[in-house]
């Protein structure tokens, strides 16, 4: 029984949150990796573009709430996301046309594009803060829990409760659907294949008649979808605050590089690698050991490898170790 309790404890405090957080990171990381693979620069505006999409999701959510539309047990935000996606894609294409296109046609070095993306980061950040303000906002409505901790305890008779938040399940479900569609698109459709070809070897792709404008446009469209959904899911699960989104850029980058930048599947797994290691290393295992060890051996301290303050530092350290030993990432990405 104690053993079961221990497992439920880990499931509740490590597995579920890490899975949800990992999915959110994974979406962002695929966004980074796609931009890197096809447009060939590190996009420092990632976090803020996600905030941009989330902002519109929230605005539409408020609008729908004000006119009385809701999805019942599901959050209204799900209804708002498609509209937000359209606006985000529009914004991204606009930015691309007026900012990135010039450097792409001039074949500027990637560093210059990264610098330019910092300018875009400043502007996007300003727009988000001017429109919706810097405050912390929660916009989840509908049923909060699928299983509440108390109900679970009653059902199973265990000491530990397992609470499954609907936002977590929603995140995981949406991520699986979205990512599998994306991989199907990249691997099976003609457009997806042309994108991969363009990413692999630009000149060869151009020779074989692939239209670069189309590839770039589709990349931004996919990026818009990923950014908005990833951002909105993060906001639903936790809360929306522009500053947090900017900071999330860092673990997202870490995830993309750990997985091998330019490789969408690597980025997807990288998100989970980062999320799980962050939570594994900063969780206090005292209760866990209390369950599995005999009473005489119970630990006195918290049995926490690192304090939770170092959550971010964990993912960055992993990134640095990966860069040192496998500069191409765990799953071979582009050569650095």
């Amino acid at each position: 029984m104690d053993f079961l309790n221990a497992i439920i404890l880990l499931l509740n405090y490590i597995f579920m949150p890490a899975l949800a957080y990992g999915s959110q990171l994974a979406l962002g990381a695929i966004f980074v990796t796609l931009i890197y693979g096809i447009l060939r620069f590190a996009n420092f505006a990632t976090g803020d573009m996600m905030a941009f999409g989330t902002m519109f999701t929230i605005l539409f959510t408020w609008y729908f709430q004000s006119i009385g539309i809701s999805l019942g047990v599901l959050p209204t935000a799900l209804l708002a996301i498609p509209f937000a996606i359209v606006l985000t894609i529009f914004y991204m294409l606009l930015v691309d046309k007026f900012v990135f296109k010039y450097y792409r046609t001039n074949k500027s070095p990637p560093v210059q594009l990264a610098m330019v993306s910092i300018g875009v980061m400043f502007v996007t950040q300003a727009i988000v803060r001017i429109i919706i303000g810097p405050a912390d906002r929660r916009f989840y409505d509908g049923e909060r829990f699928i299983i509440k901790a108390g109900e679970f305890k009653e059902m199973t008779g265990l000491n530990e409760g397992l609470a499954i938040k609907s936002s977590q399940v929603l995140t995981i479900f949406v991520t699986i659907v979205l990512v599998s569609t994306l991989f199907w698109f990249l691997n099976k459709t003609k457009t997806g294949k042309s994108m991969r070809a363009y990413s692999d070897n630009e000149d060869l792709a151009l020779l074989s008649g692939i239209d670069p404008k189309r590839v770039v446009m589709i990349t931004w469209i996919i990026a818009g979808i990923l950014a908005t959904i990833g951002g909105a899911l993060y906001g639903l699960d936790k809360s929306f605050k522009p500053f947090t989104y900017f900071n999330n850029m860092l673990p997202i980058f870490a995830a993309a590089i750990v997985g091998g930048i330019g490789n969408p599947f690597g980025a997807f797994l990288g998100g989970y690698v980062i999320a799980f290691s962050e939570i594994f290393l900063t969780y206090a295992y005292k209760k866990f050991f209390m369950y599995i060890l005999p009473a005489s051996m119970e630990p006195e301290s918290l049995v926490q490898l690192l304090s939770t303050d170092y959550k971010f530092a964990v993912s960055f350290s992993i990134l640095i170790i990966v860069l040192l030993y496998r500069p191409n990432g765990i799953f071979k990405g582009k050569v650095l």
């Binding site: 590190a42 900012v99 990637p110 560093v111 330019v116 300018g119 950040q125 860092l250 980058f253």
Partner: protein
């Protein structure tokens, strides 16, 4: 003379703007902008050495600046005796353990062949070392943090004049840069950017959460100053006389003696804070001028030529027998040391150390905007960038307010849109910075004062 015309013109306009602020807002504001401009200029010079001279991209400026600030605390704060008694010994022991660990790892790296076994061995040593340190120091760290937590709760510093911390801060930053450089300099440019950014976040995380060393988010306030204190100045006779002489024309107009005394008192209070700021300006100016002389000398020296050669074509420079890796590391350390110096200067000026205030937006990206806007590779450009961008950063709010009032002049004062826009004025500075950066990068990619290399 004509070659330098644009430099002189740009600097005259910049100084004119600051004087304009002095006349129309107040000299206090103008001088605090000027001081921050000088500090920004030092940081920009550090970044410029790395990016402009050698093409190394360092997005970790924040970490070095914070280390410089930490140096200011560790040098100037009086040591906390009780805390040292409570846990100083085991902290020192942990320090020895870390040093021993480094030597063991170095020994293994030197004397064993590269193999999986060696890698795992090193990992094992590091992990077990960390665990041992954590277990042995935990109780003493708690003891230190419990010593009078409201005011101290940390080990304190050395109690030396804070000016020394400028040098120590530079050394701290150089030490960090050495480690980062060893780890990350082999990476391609944009990876280097990301890696340095993340490393600086780790540094900030440590500074924020190791309360025994830095008091963490509880901040260290009331650091000693290299300049006189306003309150003391106001009681000094020579200072009052000085203020009276400066404002004699104003004071002579006032006839009644009591009014005159009141006016003088007011002037002395204002004057004292201006005087203190002037002292800082003097100190900072000395640093900027010395750095400028050195960096200019370096730029036109054979070493500077070599750096540019490495920047423009690494392979060719390598083929000519230049040690690219070593030079990159050297310049990375030099640039970071200057940023560390600036960080110490900043904390000296503020008189407080607030680890929570170190944000990449303010300490990394803003400095980069300064470098790009000013002109990378040109020291005068870098300094000008620091001035222009900081000036705009501060004056963005009044400018934005002015513009909003013009564009919404047709609207009612209580109109929702107008109220909302006026509430979000602080964020217009981001917009301005972003658009400024994008415009400069598009239409003047070499900055306001572009790099000019003459062959003599």
């Amino acid at each position: 003379m004509r070659k330098y015309l644009n430099v002189i013109l740009a600097y005259t306009i910049m100084l004119g703007l600051i004087i304009f602020v002095g006349i129309f807002q107040s000299w206090n504001v103008a001088l605090s902008i000027f001081n921050m401009c000088l500090i920004s200029a030092v940081m920009t010079m550090g970044a410029n050495i790395q990016w402009g001279y050698a093409g190394l991209i360092n997005f970790g400026l924040m970490g070095y600046a914070a280390l410089g600030g930490l140096a200011a605390v560790l040098i100037s704060v009086e040591p906390v005796q009780e805390a040292w008694v409570a846990g100083g010994f085991s902290i020192l022991m942990a320090l020895w353990l870390i040093i021993a660990m480094i030597f063991i790892v170095r020994f293994i790296l030197k004397h064993f062949q590269k193999s999986k076994f060696r890698t795992y061995g090193i990992a094992l040593i590091i992990i077990s070392g960390i665990i041992i340190i954590k277990v042995t120091t935990q109780s003493s760290i708690e003891a230190i943090e419990n010593v009078n937590p409201a005011t101290t709760g940390f080990l304190g510093g050395l109690g030396l004049p804070i000016i020394f911390s400028w040098i120590v801060g530079a050394f701290f930053a150089a030490g960090l840069a050495f480690i980062v450089g060893k780890v990350a300099l082999g990476l391609r440019a944009d990876y280097l950017a990301i890696a340095t950014l993340l490393i600086s976040e780790i540094v900030i995380a440590i500074i924020k959460h190791e309360d025994w060393l830095t008091r963490g988010v509880k901040n260290v306030i009331g650091l000693k100053r290299p300049a006189p204190y306003e309150v003391e100045l106001q009681t000094k006779e020579w200072f009052v006389n000085l203020v009276a002489r400066f404002n004699s024309s104003k004071l002579d107009v006032i006839s009644s003696i009591s009014d005159k005394q009141a006016a003088l008192n007011q002037l002395v209070i204002e004057g004292s804070s201006v005087f203190v700021k002037l002292c800082y300006s003097g100190l900072f100016l000395i640093v900027v001028v010395i750095l400028l002389i050195f960096t200019q000398k370096a730029l036109y020296s054979p070493w500077g030529r070599m750096m540019r050669a490495i920047r423009d074509n690494e392979e060719a420079a390598n083929a000519m027998g230049k040690n690219v890796v070593k030079q990159h590391l050297l310049i990375f350390i030099l640039g970071s040391a200057i940023v560390g110096l600036a960080g110490a200067m900043l904390v000296t000026q503020d008189g407080l150390f607030t680890p929570g205030s170190y944000q990449p937006m303010r300490y990394t990206f803003l400095i980069w905007v300064m470098v790009i806007v000013g002109g990378s590779g040109n020291n005068f450009g870098a300094i000008l960038g620091g001035f222009v961008v900081w000036f705009l950063w501060i004056e963005a709010a009044p400018i934005a307010l002015f513009l909003i009032n013009i564009f919404t002049s047709g609207l009612d004062d209580a109109h929702v849109l107008k109220v909302h826009l006026i509430e979000s004025i602080p964020y217009f500075r981001y917009l301005m910075m972003g658009i400024g950066l994008l415009l400069i990068m598009r239409y003047r990619p070499k900055g306001i004062l572009p790099e000019k290399i003459e062959i003599k």
